[in-house]
């Protein structure tokens, strides 16, 4: 089973468990999804519950919201996360705020799935870490799974959550393999995964960068440096505690992120740690991020835009030498 395939599995398991779960989006039904992430669901659950939509993202998100107000638990797909742009009002001004503005009259159990991320040459409008656009929007929860098990568990948890959860499925991880047994676990929102433990340095990274961080940690170990690698798995809520617990041991924080620094989750984490746990730090907390440019198309440019394993290793050594 891979990251791509586990999506239909997770949605299917929730649809089987709860009649109120429906799926809607562009080409999610008959075609099984532009990324083939929803294959088989139409056949299993029928066209009332698995619905192809017109190319109308505002209507997709708004319809999911409206249906949720009336008791359904919609899962809506926005094909590429960049298209959050065309439905940003429904995401940020409606979905996120509906409960609060009404004084708590509604539960809003909507899951929005989007494919994010760079690295495969999709260029400036199909590659963005759009999760960062949604950080200053209280009311949403945000999941950024990096593994098959996490994607499975977080997606199911998102569908069960009574709040809007945006789940980012990273395009460049579709081929990642993993196991999901018959008794596969739900993954709670707001609980980080400590991928690797080491006493010298705390590295925090999500999705594609988590995998690079793990690789970097391996290389660092060969150099005698033991890094803890933490994958927060959700950006909202964010599990600061796990990061802090590691910092009590390592005193050094390195955040690795795909995407520019400004207004990012990485910068927000660095700021929180600097503010609330200044005394824990023996070296400056560092964010390794992408350049302040749109995502370029050509291979050499895009490769340079994404933080590399080399850059992570380098930066780790610099922090240890501090």
């Amino acid at each position: 089973m891979n990251y791509r395939q586990v999506i239909a599995r997770a949605i299917g398991d929730e649809m089987a468990a709860d009649d109120r779960v429906i799926l809607l989006g562009e080409d999610v039904a008959a075609a099984g999804g532009a990324f083939k992430t929803t294959v088989g669901l139409l056949e299993r659950f029928g066209p009332q519950r698995v619905r192809d939509t017109p190319i109308s993202e505002q209507a997709i998100v708004g319809a999911a919201l409206g249906a949720a107000l009336m008791g359904l638990r919609p899962v809506a797909e926005i094909m590429f996360a960049d298209f959050a742009g065309v439905c940003f009002d429904q995401l940020a001004n409606q979905l996120a705020k509906y409960r609060y503005m009404s004084g708590g009259q509604f539960r809003v159990p909507v899951t929005i799935r989007m494919a994010n991320g760079a690295g495969a040459g999709f260029a400036a409008q199909h590659s963005q870490p759009a999760e960062n656009w949604l950080l200053n929007v209280p009311g949403l929860k945000i999941a950024v799974p990096a593994t098959v098990a996490d994607l499975y568990g977080l997606l199911r948890t998102a569908i069960r959550d009574d709040n809007p959860v945006v789940v980012f499925e990273h395009k460049n991880l579709f081929a990642v393999k993993g196991e999901v047994g018959p008794d596969a676990a739900l993954v709670p929102l707001g609980v980080a995964d400590v991928v690797r433990r080491g006493g010298d340095l705390t590295v925090v990274a999500t999705q594609q960068m988590r995998h690079r961080a793990v690789e970097a940690a391996g290389r660092l170990a060969a150099d005698g440096v033991e890094a803890t690698v933490i994958d927060p798995r959700t950006l909202v809520p964010f599990d600061d505690e796990t990061v802090v617990a590691s910092l009590t041991e390592t005193s050094r924080l390195l955040v690795v992120q795909e995407g520019p620094a400004g207004g990012s989750w990485g910068a927000s984490l660095v700021a929180r740690i600097a503010q609330d746990h200044f005394d824990l730090l023996d070296a400056p907390p560092v964010l390794v991020a992408s350049d302040d440019t749109p995502v370029p198309y050509a291979g050499p440019l895009e490769d340079a835009w994404l933080p590399t394993v080399d850059r992570i290793v380098d930066q780790a050594h610099r922090q240890l030498a501090y």
Binding site: P54, S56, Q58, A67, Q90, S102, G103, D162
Partner: protein, 315 residues
């Protein structure tokens, strides 16, 4: 259908409510902005009058009338506009966000057009759950130019959802007369782009509105899909609190005041012998009293305590 004493009462309650809100605004008891609907009362009263229990509605910032027409209590609506803890939204929403799920009023929206896809979603739930419920959504004439309108009507049409789109054509979008922003004369004609019926109606004639709404609601309930209704009416006040509406051509307001929906209905009821002058007076008096008593109650309620401000973001 020709409108009833009950309709008159409903319209008067809205009229007095709005007059009171205007007054509260000038007394600095309403924050931000507020958008009143005097002159448009026949539309929400006529449309919502054709709904059944379990039906739902979304509307705009100019939605006090629609929310009241769904049956939301006067005092709790006043309370919300006054920012009181006892308001329908606990003071979190205010004038532009009146919402009362208990009567099917699923939300007033302050972003032009944003209420439309949400209504489509409510209708989708009804279709999916087989509840037979219908959703009505109100929008302004100006809102027919925003993208969300197009996407929403199209989606509702292709899925044959039980939703009725009601354009309250009050002739202006803020300060812009319709013709300066919209290259078609009849907004109902835009229905053709979605293969659904488009119906024009005199929005100041509550009976006519009821008739058109009844057909559209029945069509929706029968599973035959959405209707686009254009109800012609007039915003007797300015766009929002601060607008003296000096841009109106001379005589326009007067022409529309001569066709005031409340007066029209009262006159018709008299003509038809459906109500005596004394009965009308009683209805008028009761509406006025209900509104002023409701306002008094709401004014006595406390503001929400700042300590509660984090409540209600997440379930």
């Amino acid at each position: 259908m020709s409108g009833s004493l009950a309709d008159l009462s409903a319209m008067l309650r809205i009229r007095h409510f709005e007059d009171a809100v205007r007054d509260l605004f000038t007394r600095d008891l309403v924050r931000g902005s507020t958008h009143l609907c005097q002159g448009q009362e026949a539309v929400p009263v006529g449309v919502c009058g054709e709904l059944a229990p379990g039906d739902t509605m979304t509307c705009t910032y100019r939605g006090h009338g629609a929310v009241l027409a769904m049956g939301s209590p006067l005092d709790r609506c006043f309370g919300e506009i006054l920012g009181r803890a006892g308001g329908v939204c606990g003071g979190r929403g205010g004038s532009m966000h009146l919402t009362d799920a208990s009567v099917g009023a699923l939300g007033s929206n302050a972003v032009v057009g944003a209420q439309l896809p949400i209504a489509v979603g409510a209708a989708l739930a009804a279709q999916h759950l087989g509840t037979g419920a219908v959703t009505v959504t109100f929008l302004g004439d100006g809102a027919t130019n925003i993208g969300a309108f197009h996407e929403s009507v199209n989606l509702a049409a292709i899925w044959r959802l039980p939703v009725v789109f009601v354009i309250e054509n009050n002739q202006y979008g803020e300060y812009s007369p319709l013709a300066t922003t919209t290259p078609v004369a009849r907004l109902a004609d835009r229905a053709a782009s979605y293969g659904i019926p488009g119906v024009f109606v005199d929005g100041n004639d509550v009976g006519a509105v009821r008739a058109v709404a009844a057909t559209a609601v029945a069509r929706a309930r029968a599973g035959d899909g959405p209707t686009l209704v254009e109800a012609d009416t007039y915003r007797q006040q300015g766009h929002s609190r601060s607008d003296p509406a000096t841009y109106r051509p001379p005589g326009e307001l007067e022409r529309w005041l001569a066709r005031d929906p409340v007066t029209l209905l009262a006159d018709r009821l008299t003509e038809q012998g459906a109500a005596t002058p004394a009965e009308l007076d009683a209805v008028r008096e009761r509406a006025r009293a209900e509104v002023s008593q409701a306002l008094e109650r709401a004014l006595s309620w406390p503001m929400p305590h700042p300590d509660t401000r984090l409540e209600g973001v997440y379930a």
